[in-house]
């Protein structure tokens, strides 16, 4: 049913989206917690910075990544020289671009759920003998879980659909950086590629739909099944 090419594109897209979510989640939780709870100078600035990818043209984000994380960019050169980590024109770069584009969505959802927690629950937990860290993992995070799940799904879906920043930063290399949206774009630019573009579009719809259903299922399971 699916051609080898199509399967490769889907797997690459999933890999990119998954990596972007897995690596941005801890940072998103930390930033969301900070924004929801702490009051510090420059908070507004951090808040704006986190939300920037939401309002900037994706091409601008991609270009900024290219400048900063390109092989000769200040961060890119440093990472390549010291750790041998290269983002430019690799699938990891696609994941980075997707992570940054999905970050505001993830932070927003998690932050809201942190803000909705009755902080007296955390106080009780302290008086019951739990340390700050202990309270965070035993009370705060579990209570914020619905928001965390929502954030993960939104950012995963956003990553699957990422186009502008990705194509600007890591180009459109089949088998390396050509994710689903990029492949669809390529076929629409190819003579007689419409059918293949359509097939991939249907797959994209199915994937997005599946991730939303999965999120709904996880969220419902979480709220009805009790845990110890």
């Amino acid at each position: 049913m699916l051609s080898v090419d199509e399967l490769g594109i889907i797997l690459l897209s999933l890999k990119v989206a998954l990596a972007s979510v897995v690596f941005s989640l801890p940072l998103a939780v930390a930033v969301a917690f900070l924004l929801a709870r702490a009051d510090f100078p420059g908070k507004t600035l951090i808040d704006a910075l986190v939300h920037l990818p939401l309002v900037l043209p994706p091409v601008v984000v991609g270009f900024a990544l290219l400048v900063l994380f390109g092989l000769r960019g200040p961060i890119g050169a440093f990472l390549a020289d010291t750790f041998g980590i290269v983002f430019a024109f690799r699938w990891t770069g696609a994941a980075l671009a997707a992570a940054i584009m999905g970050f505001p969505l993830m932070v927003r959802a998690i932050r809201l759920s942190f803000a909705a927690i009755d902080r007296r629950l955390e106080t009780v937990a302290r008086t019951l003998g739990a340390s700050r860290i202990g309270v965070f993992f035993s009370i705060t995070v579990p209570l914020a879980l619905p928001g965390i799940i929502t954030g993960v799904v939104l950012s995963f879906a956003r990553s699957l659909g990422e186009f502008g920043a990705t194509i600007t930063f890591v180009s459109n290399i089949p088998g390396e950086t050509q994710t689903l949206p990029l492949a669809i774009y390529t076929y629409t630019q190819t003579p007689a590629g419409d059918l293949r573009a359509l097939r991939l579009s249907v797959i994209a719809v199915a994937l997005s739909f599946a991730s939303l259903v999965a999120a709904e299922w996880i969220a419902r399971r979480h709220s009805t099944v009790t845990r110890d």
Partner: protein, 362 residues
């Protein structure tokens, strides 16, 4: 043994409290806004006083001069809030064990099974907090605090968010755990009924200051503290012993150091100690022993003094045997009867004025 001396200023409100208490249940009593919760938060380590010292059972929890400020999790004080604050994502059993699992192993003297039996939680263990009634939730919250093996239990208006029936239910459980587990309790309330039923020692707070402390009989009986203890509920507290039950009429006779009282039947074996509260507004005065009246309780005593007499109402302090009693009458009655200090008077108390909440087990 609790030894507290703290100062904490928040905005324009200043808490400046000092008291020592050694009693199974210490009542912190005061109107709302008097600083009760701030004080309890300071004890629990949730709010930090600017200056002072908090010592519980010989353990210094806070001492500003020596730079001691134990984190809440290291104070081991159980805190029961007005709202139950159960962890909504955990079943009752996991809620109960939250503190137990975190208590030092060598401090685990209060046993899970025992608390479950004591508070009647067996059938609730597998439920989520959402599926519990208000009274059940508060019982679980109390059990959870107990199982954290506290040195002292802090209860901040634990009945305030419950309806009257649930209050009675939870109140009985609190009496049970006082008698059974011997855990000292600091009980915060603005309800005279709760304080007099439960507390042995009372600390009276007003405007952030501790203005009186002593036994519940002393503090609640003092006419000069009426503005703080409240006019409507004002009264005296007596320690009494069940003398006899009259099953035909459903009455119980109580003996106290000053005479006997007849009240609607209370549970309790003959000889059992009971605490009775007599509200001042339920006490009338007569100059001679009245005849042909329905009132069952006529107590002979002498008039000791009067409370503040501005306004139409006067509190009259009496001595009946070894106990003091307060009667609330109008200024007109006082003048018509020509009441004066040292006079012999008869205090009349209707038996039906005693309700369940004014009679408790001491």
């Amino acid at each position: 043994m609790i030894d507290v001396e703290v100062t904490r200023r928040v905005g324009t409100f200043e808490l400046d409290v000092a008291f020592q208490a050694e009693a199974p249940i210490v009542g912190l009593f005061g109107r709302s806004g008097s600083g009760k919760t701030t004080l309890v938060n300071a004890l629990a380590g949730v709010a930090r006083p600017q200056r002072g010292r908090i010592v519980v059972n010989g353990e210094t929890l806070f001492d500003s001069t020596h730079g001691i400020d134990l984190a809440p999790e290291r104070r081991r004080l159980g805190y029961v809030f007005q709202d139950d604050l159960l962890f909504p994502h955990l079943k009752v059993e996991a809620n109960l064990l939250y503190g137990y699992r975190r208590a030092p192993a060598n401090a685990r003297v209060i046993d899970e099974g025992h608390v479950i039996e004591l508070l009647g939680l067996r059938s609730l263990l597998q439920r989520l907090p959402d599926a519990l009634s208000g009274g059940e939730k508060q019982r679980v919250a109390i059990g959870r605090a107990l199982l954290a093996q506290p040195r002292l239990l802090l209860m901040d208006e634990p009945l305030a968010s419950l309806d009257v029936q649930r209050r009675d239910e939870v109140l009985r459980y609190i009496e049970l755990l006082r008698d059974d587990l011997h855990i000292p309790i600091v009980y915060v309330s603005h309800s005279v009924a709760e304080i007099t039923r439960l507390a042995d020692t009372v600390v009276l707070l007003s405007d952030g200051k501790s203005i009186a402390s002593g036994t519940v009989e002393e503090v609640m009986g003092r006419v000069d503290l009426r503005p703080q203890t409240g006019r409507y509920e004002a009264g005296t507290v007596l320690d009494a012993v069940v003398a006899a039950h009259d099953i035909d009429y459903g009455l119980t006779t109580l003996r106290f150091p000053g005479g006997v009282l007849t009240v609607p039947s209370v549970e309790g074996l003959v000889g059992e100690r009971i605490r009775v509260r007599i509200r001042a507004r339920d006490v009338s005065l007569a100059l001679t022993r009245p005849t042909g009246v329905s009132i069952l309780n006529v107590l002979e005593g002498s008039l000791v003094g009067f409370g503040s007499d501005d306004g139409p109402i006067v509190d009259v302090q009496l001595r009946v045997g070894e106990v003091s009693l307060v009667a609330r009458i109008t200024r007109r009655s006082r003048e018509q009867l020509r009441l004066h200090e040292g006079q012999t008077v008869f205090a009349l108390v209707k038996a039906v004025s005693f309700d369940r909440r004014s009679v408790g087990y001491a």
